[in-house]
Symmetry: C2
Subunit: 208 residues, 2 copies
């Protein structure tokens, strides 16, 4: 597979969800310019991305939505699925568990980890919570490749190191810290508080 | 106030949370290079940002953490606080309510909105849920400036339009759609599913 950028993967993920929405509305086909408008891109960009996933439908007749979502899925998803571990079952961790629970059969949070004795060995939003000490054993025995990090900032790097040692190759990091990881590990950061504070700041500034 | 970039505001928000973490650990002062390491930036960048918020401590003796967090707060936050409305109390909306509930006195989610009769007129994670039809009235009567959008993709633009008409000036958008809004409205997008799918894709690719 050729080198592909995070932006391309992000757009494909976005197309797919917009296409699911169209399917739910009873649509069967969509033109590249319509899809472009829904995601805030250009029709030329949509056509390039669609070609990249190997979909061979004709843009002049519109894309068949079912076929296109399947082509994107074959490109984005692992056929055998991928398992995710979440570390840090505080408010944010619980929120993430609740949000992703049961949404994606091919990409599911299989295990949660925390140090709090009140949380371990319980099932929280459908996900079993293990003690952090069991991380390496559970990650390796269940073939987990992806970690979601929802621990406090001061624990994030230590837990990231532990995830990497356990064999994790990708981390979705919600902690407000830039993680240092080896080159073979991909990190994507989400900082909800920062995002809300940015919105608050600029909302206020534009009023002045 | 001079024009300031979203990246600068994002960094200030990040510094502040890292500083809170240091305070919680019992630290009293921090050098610019230490703060830089914790956020993955450079000491020169930290010093520029700290100057921008008007903190006058000496970087050679280290910053007083309490004073610096206060200076950042005075710059970032509205003295009288800002109120937030959340629209769409599904799994993600509930997760966001739970995460932000009570965290920030100066930036709190004051009202939630949904169309589901089972949700309206209830208090969910500490926040009252109103019918969407009451949006304009509640936003205006409570001086709400910021909207958090956690509705499905096909409703996002319609709700955004309604938020803008009601007087909202900033939107934190979790829906997988690029919103079209007037220039005086600031939009920040967070797409958790896209982010997790990106991590999954690159985690797999790096294994190959």
């Amino acid at each position: 597979m050729a080198r592909v950028s995070g932006k391309t993967i992000g757009r494909l993920s976005l197309y797919r969800r917009v296409l699911y929405g169209l399917l739910a509305d009873g649509e069967r086909s969509v033109y590249s310019h319509q899809l472009a408008r829904l995601v805030g891109g250009t029709a030329a960009q949509v056509r390039r991305d669609v070609m990249a996933v190997g979909y061979t439908g004709s843009p002049t007749r519109g894309y068949d939505i079912t076929d296109l979502t399947r082509a994107i899925g074959n490109y984005l998803d692992a056929a055998q699925g991928q398992s995710v571990a979440l570390v840090g079952v505080g408010n944010l961790g619980k929120a993430i568990l609740s949000y992703f629970s049961g949404r994606r059969p091919r990409l599911s949070i299989e295990a949660a980890f925390d140090t709090d004795p009140a949380k371990v060995n319980r099932v929280i939003h459908g996900c079993r919570c293990y003690p952090v000490d069991d991380l390496e054993r559970v990650v390796q025995s269940r073939g987990i490749e992806i970690g979601v990090l929802t621990v406090p900032a001061d624990q994030a790097q230590g837990v990231a190191d532990y995830l990497v040692e356990s064999g994790i190759r990708g981390i979705l990091n919600f902690a407000p810290v830039r993680l240092s990881v080896p080159d073979h590990v991909y990190v994507e950061d989400i900082d909800m508080t920062m995002s809300l504070e940015k919105v608050a700041f600029f909302a206020r500034q534009r009023k002045q």
